[in-house]
Symmetry: C2
Subunit: 222 residues, 2 copies
C-alpha cells in the first residue's frame, strides 16, 4: 500500500472561528466543493460507513477524505485501500478540528478535482460539536450499542447535525435500543434533522444515506 | 424519587492542575477517602457498571458517586435509585473534569462518612485523560462494540488507566472483537494495566472488578 500522507494540523490562533468557518464555506461554494463533517463517539463506525459511502458514490462524484485522529494512520490506510484519495490529519492530542485546521487539511487534499471532501472528525461527542469546521453539512453517527439516550446527554452534537445515522442496526435485537425514542430525542434537539438507520457492516440502509448525500452535493454545486 | 442534587462546576482558573490534583490526593489520603475516576466513550456502560459495583460493595464500604454530565441528570437519578449517595455535576458544556471541579463535587458529596468516592467522568476518550482529577486510581471502560483497536487511537486514555474493563462481553459473538489483541494494545500503552472482561448487564465478571476495587480501597485506607 502507498504511504499515507500525514498532516500535523496546528490549532488556530484565531479566536473568531465562526467567521473563518464562514469564509471557508464561501470559498468552497465558489470552487464547487462540498465539505461534509462526520462526527461520532469512538467506535461508532465512522470509517466503515465512509468505506460503504465511497463504494456507492466514487464512480459519479470525485471524493477526497480527511481522517482526523490523535495518533495512528489506521483510518487513512483503510480509506486509501477503498480506492479514494485520503490523508491523515494528526491533531497532536487535540479533541476536535476547527475551521483553520480543516483548511490545512483541505489545502493538502484538494488539487483541483475533488467535488466532495469528507472530514472524519475525532471520535468525540462533545468538543467537535463546538467548532464550526466550515463544512456545508454536519452528520453524526450514533450506534445502537451506545443507547438511544445519547441526544439527551450530548445535546449540542445533535443540535448541530443535519443528519443522524443510526448505525449497527443489525445488532438491535441484542440491545435495549428504541429507534422511535431515539428519533424523538433527536427531534427534541433538532426538529429538522434526518434520521437514517443503517448497518455499515452489511450495507443495509447505506443507499438512503448515499441518496441524501448525493442530493446535497448536487444542490451545493448547482 | 428524591430530587437529585445538581452542582454546576466551574472550570479552574489555575493552570497548575497537576499540583492541585496532588494536593487533593494528599487530603484524601489523610481523610481516608479513596477516589476512583471512571472514564469511557459515550455509551460504553459506565452507569450500568457503577450500579453493579455499588450492589456488590455498598454493604461493606460507604460509597458516594459523582455523575459528571454536560446536561441532564439521568445518571445521578439512576445511581440514587440504586440506593447510593449521588450528586450530578453539570460541566456546562465542558468535555472533562479537572482537580478543582472534582473538589467542588467532593465538597458537596462528602459529609464525613464516604470511604469510596466514584467520579463518573464525561463520556469522552480524549479530554478527560489529559486532566488529573486527583483520583487515587483511574479506570476506563472499553465496550466490545467500539472495537479492539481503541488503545491505538486514543493512546493517552489507556496510558493513564490502572484498569480497563472490557464491557458488553456478552455480545462479542456479534462483533469482530479480539480480546487478546485488545489486551496486547492496552499493554502497548500501559504494561501495568489490568484488563478485566465484564458484562455489566448480566453481572458477568463484575465480581473480579469489585475484588480489585475493594483491595485498592483497603490498601489506601490502611
Amino acid at each position: 500500500m502507498d504511504q499515507v500522507r500525514i498532516i500535523e494540523v496546528k490549532q488556530s490562533v484565531f479566536a473568531d472561528n465562526d467567521k473563518r468557518a464562514a469564509e471557508l464555506r464561501r470559498e468552497l461554494k465558489e470552487r464547487g466543493i462540498f465539505l461534509l463533517n462526520l462526527m461520532s463517539a469512538p467506535g461508532s463506525g465512522k470509517t466503515t460507513t465512509l468505506k460503504r459511502t465511497v463504494e456507492l458514490l466514487k464512480d459519479e462524484i470525485k471524493i477526497g477524505v480527511m481522517e482526523a485522529d490523535i495518533d495512528s494512520d489506521v483510518d487513512a490506510r483503510a480509506m486509501a485501500a477503498a480506492g479514494v484519495k485520503s490523508i491523515q490529519l494528526h491533531t497532536g492530542g487535540m479533541c476536535h478540528l476547527d475551521a483553520d485546521m480543516t483548511r490545512q487539511g483541505l489545502d493538502e487534499l484538494i488539487d483541483g478535482d475533488v467535488e466532495l471532501a469528507i472530514l472524519e472528525n475525532v471520535g468525540n461527542l462533545v468538543c467537535p460539536a463546538e467548532f464550526d469546521t466550515g463544512a456545508v453539512k454536519n452528520a453524526a453517527i450514533l450506534s445502537v450499542p451506545e443507547g438511544d439516550d445519547k441526544p439527551l446527554k450530548y445535546p449540542l452534537m445533535f443540535q448541530v447535525c443535519d443528519v443522524v445515522l443510526v448505525n449497527k442496526i443489525d445488532v438491535a435485537p441484542y440491545f435495549d435500543f428504541d429507534l422511535e425514542k431515539c428519533k424523538e430525542y433527536v427531534r427534541m434537539r433538532n426538529p429538522a434533522a434526518r434520521v437514517i438507520p443503517i448497518c455499515a457492516k452489511t450495507g443495509e440502509g447505506v443507499d438512503q444515506w448515499a441518496d441524501w448525500l448525493r442530493e446535497q452535493v448536487r444542490e451545493w454545486r448547482s
